[in-house]
């Protein structure tokens, strides 16, 4: 038995764009996910971070078997999830559940909380009706609601409480892996902290494994053991959370980190930012070879010819990046930053860089 609960191998998902009504002609494809390989270990939290359109939600839907891959595979506990059917598929759905982003859209407004949380139990035919009711009331208390909330409707709850209902539902069938797709991004800071703490407590209590998808780098750092950074359908960096935030190796990760506003005025204003120019390119027609090269401050000739593979950085085998010219230092020095041809110079380039010590000792 391996250490990995989930093995993702060269996973690719292309969505066709068609023209015509009767005779649909495929005119292009959106390359939402392109050859992503990674493992999720038992009991860990793997954070997946990236900007809109990087393929993180597509990844979530492929892991949970809501989409079928174009090529490549997702193996859960050794089994290829795309081949599951019947009883096996049902068993898989008990073990892998999901928490969604929008606590307003993800709960049926016409059903009572008791039914919403019990539905997975009904689907999987667990227990008698009385047992189910007791289990649901137990679950509501586990997630910090009251057993009396059983007969209420979702609209009677605030955003944070609804997210707790969503979590109770995800826990109901006794899952081993929960895929959390932006579970806190719709919540206010104080409520977000409650939900993040709850997710950590539940993980410790039930030995859960999380794939935690978010665009907020601070949230991902807080919750994750390891972090995967995605850009335009590719995995660009994978490392232990601490190592990744202390010394990113991929220039895109570096740019992301330096773009996050720091809630500490001294630190935040001291540091020189590496501000990327331009926008994320269109995934229908992504740049050749390394997809980051048109915006990369370290791009060189071969970046537009040869697509870099994810490889171990130095001796540190737990830190991988897909880059021909990974960062040697963090923060970067001015001469390491240069604008790609034809673009204005990067903000910060040429200036004295004041190093932000990203790890503050407490």
């Amino acid at each position: 038995m391996t250490d990995a609960l989930l093995e993702i191998d060269r996973l690719t998902k292309h969505f066709p764009i068609t023209e015509g009504i009767v005779f649909k002609k495929e005119v292009a494809t959106v390359k939402a996910l392109d050859g992503v390989s990674l493992e999720v270990r038992r009991g860990e939290t793997l954070g997946v971070v990236g900007e809109s359109g990087c393929g993180k939600s597509t990844l979530a839907r492929l892991i949970t078997n809501l989409l079928t891959p174009t090529s490549g595979s997702v193996r859960f506990d050794g089994q290829d999830v795309a081949t599951l059917a019947g009883q096996e598929l049902l068993a898989f759905r008990r073990q892998v559940t999901m928490i969604f982003q929008d606590p307003y859209a993800s709960l049926n407004p016409r059903k009572r909380v008791g039914f919403i949380v019990a539905e997975p139990l009904i689907v999987h035919d667990v227990g008698t009706e009385t047992e189910r009711k007791r289990r649901v009331q137990e679950l509501l208390e586990v997630v910090g609601l009251n057993a009396e909330h059983y007969n209420r409707f979702p609209h009677e709850f605030s955003g944070g409480q609804r997210q707790r209902i969503g979590i109770a539902r995800a826990l109901a069938a006794g899952p081993r892996l929960i895929v959390c797709d932006e579970p806190v991004s719709a919540l206010d800071v104080s409520v977000q902290a409650q939900i993040l703490n709850l997710l950590s407590d539940l993980q410790a209590e039930f030995g859960l494994t999380y794939v935690f998808i978010a665009h907020d780098l601070s949230v991902v750092r807080h919750i994750s053991d390891r972090v995967a950074v995605m850009y335009l359908g590719k995995l660009v960096e994978l490392a232990d959370a601490k190592a990744l935030y202390a010394g990113p190796r991929h220039p895109y990760t570096g740019a992301l980190l330096s773009a996050v506003p720091i809630a500490n005025p001294r630190l935040g204003r001291q540091r020189r930012k590496l501000v990327l120019t331009g926008d994320v390119p269109n995934p229908i027609d992504p740049p050749s070879a390394c997809r980051f090269h048109p915006r990369c401050p370290r791009t060189q000739g071969m970046c537009s010819i040869d697509d870099p593979e994810l490889r171990a950085m130095g001796q540190d085998s737990v830190h991988e990046a897909a880059c021909h010219f990974p960062l040697e230092r963090w923060p970067m020095t001015p001469d390491e930053m240069r604008a790609p041809e034809g673009l204005p110079p990067l903000a910060g380039a040429g200036d004295e860089l004041t190093p932000p010590e990203l790890e503050v000792s407490r």
Binding site: E51, G160, D188, V189, A193, I262, R269
Partner: protein, 383 residues
Amino acid sequence: MTGSTNGVSRTEQPGAVPLLEVRDLRTYFKTDDGIVRAVDGVSFSVEAGQTLGVVGESGSGKSVTMMSILGLNPKAGRLAPKDGSGAPEQMVGFLEESKKHISISTGAALFRGENLLEASSSRLRSLRGKEVSMIFQDPMTSLNPVLTVGDQLIEAVTLHRDISSRKARQVAIAGLEEVGIPRAGRRVDDYPHQFSGGMRQRVMIAMALINEPALLIADEPTTALDVTTQAQILDLISDLQKERGTAVVLITHDLGVVAETADDIVVMYAARVVEQAPVLELFEHPMHPYTWGLLGSLPRVDVTLDRLMQIGGQPPSLLRPPRGCRFRPRCAYAFDRCRTELPPATAQSYDPGHLDACLLDERFKLGESARVTHELGLTPEAA
């Protein structure tokens, strides 16, 4: 608090009239469920050329405050002198008698000494977009999808200036160039959907700044954007601000954004200001328990925290706010006086520029503040 430390500067000219001064602003709405006290006694001021960050969670009244100042609330009614001086009870009485769903605002919003709450709607129209302009969160819904961005920019120019449409077009192109839109001469004839989210927000900024306003109100300008685009937009706003000396009110829920951009910060909770201070002071010596909770709730990109310091419960309903201090039901430090007394914003004995609305003893708060900032790595030594 004068002088500058580490690039965080704050100028204080005693006796000078602030660009915008808001005094005891209240805005109540009549709804089906009752009267919502969306803004309930808010005061602050903005100096010329400075950035004021207004932080708070959803429903804390940050946006309604700004909408009230600009006279943009839907169905705004007016309190006639016979209705009283505008005390909260009189406002409630007035709204209860009204048969329609209306809103009223009382207090004062002095822009260069002129009370905008009393200004006529034509005066407000000539002011908005010229002397005070606003950027909203969602750049898609705030641009008209059936007009080219050029048409919309030209409209903003010709509305306030007496120039030919040919000249206005040139102004529009120059405006787009200034916010970093490549090939502005051609993009000016494009429609909003042909721009990406970040580019649309640039167009909004160009439109807001095209008449060189003295005050720019930016309501969550980067919330809908990705982090690298957010960094671009914040840089752009602060560059243009420096160039032109525009004052900015930046409304946001993100403490990181205000930490990096604001000179002063106002923290709002349940329709009131709970704390107000220069940026360094607020982060290094926060004095209100809600501010502590907010700072401690924030996952950090620069510090590893084992567990977030969460605030229990949720913000109160503004239909029936709790008696006494509005934060009391969620406050770990509450004592009996907090149940009955609504704490006024009071200056610290050691710093008149730092206000907080909490009844706890100042010495006690300083002690707790030191503990919290130490735990969060916010003390000057940590940086």
